[in-house]
């Protein structure tokens, strides 16, 4: 077991985990944060995306030991006082959720984009979400939602 001390969704987190666990294993099975999904396990589908020090990473590929001293944001950290945050509200308004399995990864990739680029073009949104697959083929609404959230809507 390895001891980990890091910041999770703005709160300090101290936890022990087996050395072979990934960040995704730790979130879902160690901390019962099941918003982050296991999709392909190979870094391709994007639904396990979380923010590590503000940058999107595939939690299925990153070993949990990399978390020491760092800051993690998961989909559970996107709400505002229990209400959906601006991106989540924009997704709901635009109908950007069908089955919802890709949504956590979409939200965090979008959050990283808007933090770095508050006024993205549609092309910027497409580039930022290129690694997040939606098999309901709902990309149009998702892109609309991210642009709406950027515009304050």
């Amino acid at each position: 077991m390895i001891a980990l001390d890091f910041t999770l969704n703005d709160r300090p987190c101290r936890v022990e985990a087996p050395a072979h666990w990934t960040v995704l294993d730790l979130l879902r099975d160690g901390l019962a944060l099941n918003g982050t999904k296991y999709g392909c396990g190979e870094g391709v589908c994007g639904t396990c995306t979380v923010l590590l020090d503000g940058e999107p990473v595939r939690s299925c590929l990153v070993l949990a030991s990399r978390l020491r001293g760092r800051t993690v944001i998961t989909v559970e950290g996107l709400d505002r006082d229990g209400e959906p945050g601006p991106l989540q509200a924009a997704f709901a308004r635009a109908g950007a959720v069908q089955c919802g399995f890709c949504t956590p990864g979409m939200l965090l990739s979008a959050r990283a984009l808007l933090a770095a680029n508050p006024a993205p073009t549609e092309h910027d949104v497409r580039e930022a979400l290129a690694g997040n697959l939606c098999r309901c083929t709902g990309y149009t609404k998702i892109i609309e939602a991210v642009l709406a959230a950027a515009g304050g809507g």
Binding site: H20, E42, L61, V62, A112, E127
Partner: protein
Amino acid sequence: MRLRPFALAEPESVPEAVEVLSRLEGDTRIIAGGTALVPTMRLGLVAPDRLVSLHRILGLSEIRVSKGVLEVGAMATLAAVARHSALRAGWPLLAQAAGRVATPAIRSSATLGGNLCYAEAASDPAPALLCLDTQVRVADSVGERVVPIAEFFTGFYETAVAPGEVLTGVRVPAVPPGARGGYVKFCPRSAEDKPLIGVAALLVLDAARRVGDIRIALAGAAPTPIRARAAEATARGQGLSDRVIREAADAAAAEAEPLSDLMGSADYRRQMIRVWVRRLLTALRETRPIA
């Protein structure tokens, strides 16, 4: 699905990493960003007993330019390589290539050292580094040795890094005065794929607009990333006319030894090498020199 359990070592210096690796304990692998190794483990293609992670070694993710020479630590992420302003200004083809690997969430974890050690023939950064006469720094039990990038890729997914050694970084000299360069990548299906083929080039046009120094390198064109030396020889000393560009592209297609795989046949790759060498050289005619 969990990874098969393994022991994890997290050395805090390069000598400590080399020392840890010298203790023979089953199948040991070095892990950098994990974007290649972890999927390979999940697919059961490798089942290491022990991983040695380089993430705690201070300074190994540094990117530094000093006296015109670029030093990139092995643990620098491809995202960091793609956005570093001095690197972008002095070695734009490397920044372009790093910025074209996979997707943002992969580039933020994947490292330049990991990319080199994985030795994917269809690597985006490798052709850029081949054009830039990169020196690869490798630490072993007696210190450090330097491997020219032209001797680094030794075979299909094989490199000059021996068991027990650690790739610590690359050293990239300044480009020649007046050089212009770029990297292009062709993906027939999806932009986040590895390239079917990738082409990097660096060239100098003299006052009469004849080609002086020229370097062309290819990804996905052979079992390893390669320099296209016949194509370079075809263009060297010539004006960069449409005809010379076509002849150089034909030479690159002829000297390539591409493999067939699920992304495309060897013949298709050869045709696309012809197309993309031509397009890159044509674009470089109009590209501003780097310095």
